[in-house]
């Protein structure tokens, strides 16, 4: 789920994993992470402002994606670094990898490659969701690293997702669905038989499978965030089902 926030996939959220015990990172690592999170907060703020300006000035969402795509692509692609950060912050590489990959997928393999859907409303939906989510998330990590976390940021981080997450999923699914006819018509990213590798790939059916995969994945991630929320905001002790 591109718009999901994985608790702990961050860069500075060491504390959450450790139940309050902060593990010390090296000074250099901490400095870098602070810089990274401030930069990302700023980047997504700029993106948010650019989107707002465009809409205020033009009164329409048509052409909005084209006008902000450079900023979006830069900052979203840069987030690949978070997979590397996992080694330092001791969070799950797999979960972070999945989250970042799904964002990269939406940006490059859907929105960028299939130009005809760039003016869909669903694109604006997920862009807005991502922007609010990322600004909240990165500022949360920043303040955490600086040891001065205002309660309202913690509150935002663990409450916004309740609306934002389903909204983001809706935006992504609607966008992929809108893209399907164009993929079928052009046969893009597909490989047909016969060929010397004896394999075939149909991007159209691949996208349909991706859409169905949201069904098992979305509830799990959403429930995970709900459990985290109860633990962090209400201090509930959750007996984890470990297997």
């Amino acid at each position: 789920m591109a718009s999901s926030e994985e608790d702990g996939s961050g860069n500075g959220s060491v504390e959450e994993k450790e139940n309050g015990k902060k593990r010390s990172l090296g000074a250099l690592a901490t400095a870098w992470l602070i810089f990274y999170n401030i930069a990302m907060t700023a980047g997504w703020l700029v993106l948010g402002i650019a989107m707002a300006r465009f809409y205020i000035q033009r009164g329409t969402h048509r052409g909005l994606f084209r006008s902000v795509q450079k900023i979006l692509k830069f900052f979203q692609t840069f987030a690949l670094l978070e997979v590397v950060h996992c080694a330092v912050v001791h969070t799950s590489v797999l979960v972070t990898g999945v989250q970042v990959s799904s964002r990269i997928f939406m940006v490059w393999f859907i929105a960028h490659s299939i130009k005809q859907i760039q003016n869909e409303e669903s694109v604006i939906l997920f862009l807005v969701v991502w922007t609010v989510t990322e600004i909240t998330r990165y500022s949360f990590y920043t303040f955490n690293l600086l040891n001065h976390l205002p309660y309202f940021i913690k509150w935002a981080r663990y409450n916004f997702f309740i609306i934002l997450y389903p909204a983001g999923v809706a935006g992504e699914l609607l966008t992929i669905y809108a893209a399907l006819p164009y993929v079928k018509k052009t046969g893009m990213y597909s490989l047909r038989l016969p060929n010397k590798y004896n394999v075939s790939f149909d991007y159209y059916y691949f996208l349909i499978i991706v859409m169905f995969s949201y069904i098992p994945l979305f509830p799990q991630l959403y429930l995970h965030m709900l459990r985290q929320r109860r633990k962090v905001l209400h201090g509930e002790v959750i007996v984890e089902k470990d297997d």
Binding site: K196, Y197, V199
Partner: protein
């Protein structure tokens, strides 16, 4: 005083049941010390079971059987008993008195979930690919277009590939029934769904392309196929040799573990370089099959299999090192000198 009843409490003698001292003149009988066992839920610490008068030589297996009597839904295979709530599981062969417990032993119980026997899982996960591949080979209806139903491929390599694939899985089935000696009787039930999805899914994916009417035979023709067949057969023989050697290390019904060594069979000489030559040969077989079929899904299956087997080999290698002081230092887990 004669015939004194001995104290049953105080002085740290709880749980001691001593017989009355014999009348003078008779030989004193040995005192028998029974244990008490309490079993607590590892997560909730709830007291689930209390057993008294447990023999000191009782094994964990016997205690598990006693526990099942009071909680029949938890048959022994799904019980994990430990000394600490998050500690490692005690083995069935462990003897009560040799454990670091007082005369009242406390065990923590975790439910491992529904279990299924290894043999059942292996048979199911291997029978699937055998049958599924044949469905595609014979071009059963609804797999390819109707005009191809029940037709045969015109490429010799396709027939050879079917023979090799079928041979491979028949070998695995027979080994499961007659060769392997399993350390554990069971595994969690959900594994059968996971494993079958993997084996059956990949088998269908590979078989679809190899038996497809638009299949493209190997670029280097007969030379490539012959080389691939040689590699495949060599590795199948190797893999079988290792399985037999491992079986002979362990007497029937036992769970002993010994360091495997090369035997007179040259295929087992790979033990000099590698801890798990069975995995090495298995990867080799699939590389052979990849070259034979020149099919990308086969290459991917080989790669995924290699990654999984490398992880298992590392684990096995490390446990050999932990268990045996004199483990040969030259050996690597799965790839000689490298991995």
């Amino acid at each position: 005083m004669e015939g004194t009843a001995l104290p049953l409490e105080g002085g740290g003698l709880e749980g001691l049941t001593l017989r009355r001292p014999p009348p003078p003149g008779k030989k004193a009988k040995k005192a028998v010390l029974f244990f008490e066992v309490e079993i607590l839920d590892a997560k909730t610490r709830e007291k689930l079971c209390f057993l008294d008068k447990v023999e000191p030589q009782a094994t964990i297996a016997e205690i598990k059987n006693l526990f099942t009597k009071t909680h029949p839904q938890w048959y022994p295979a799904r019980q994990s008993l430990r000394l600490e709530p998050k500690g490692r599981s005690l083995k069935d062969e462990d003897v009560l008195q040799s454990l670091p417990v007082g005369t009242t032993a406390t065990f923590y119980f975790r439910d491992l979930g529904a279990q299924i026997s290894w043999v059942t899982v292996f048979l199911t996960e291997y029978a699937g690919p055998l049958l599924i591949y044949l469905l595609f080979y014979f071009r059963v209806p609804f797999l390819y277009g109707p005009r191809y139903d029940f037709t045969a491929s015109r490429h010799a390599v396709v027939h050879l590939a079917c023979a090799c694939h079928s041979f491979h899985y028949i070998k695995r089935l027979l080994e499961t029934l007659f060769v392997h000696r399993f350390s554990h009787g069971t595994m969690p039930l959900r594994n059968i769904f996971k494993n079958c999805t993997y084996y059956w899914g990949f088998a269908a994916w590979m078989a679809y392309y190899i038996n497809h009417p638009l299949y493209t035979p190997p670029a280097y023709g007969d030379e490539q196929v012959k080389l691939a067949l040689a590699v495949f057969l060599f590795c199948q023989l190797g893999n079988f040799s290792i399985h037999v050697a491992l079986r002979n290390l362990r007497p029937a019904g036992s769970k002993t573990r010994k360091i495997p060594y090369p035997t007179r069979n040259p295929f087992t000489w790979l033990f000099l370089l590698v801890s798990c030559p069975n995995y090495t040969y298995e990867v080799g077989s699939w590389i052979g099959f990849t070259i034979m079929t020149q099919c990308l899904p086969v290459a991917l299956f080989s790669l995924v299999g290699f990654v999984q087997m490398a992880i298992w080999a590392q684990g096995k290698h490390r446990s050999y090192l932990r268990e045996f002081r004199d483990y040969p230092p030259l050996r690597s887990p799965i790839v000689p000198f490298l991995l």
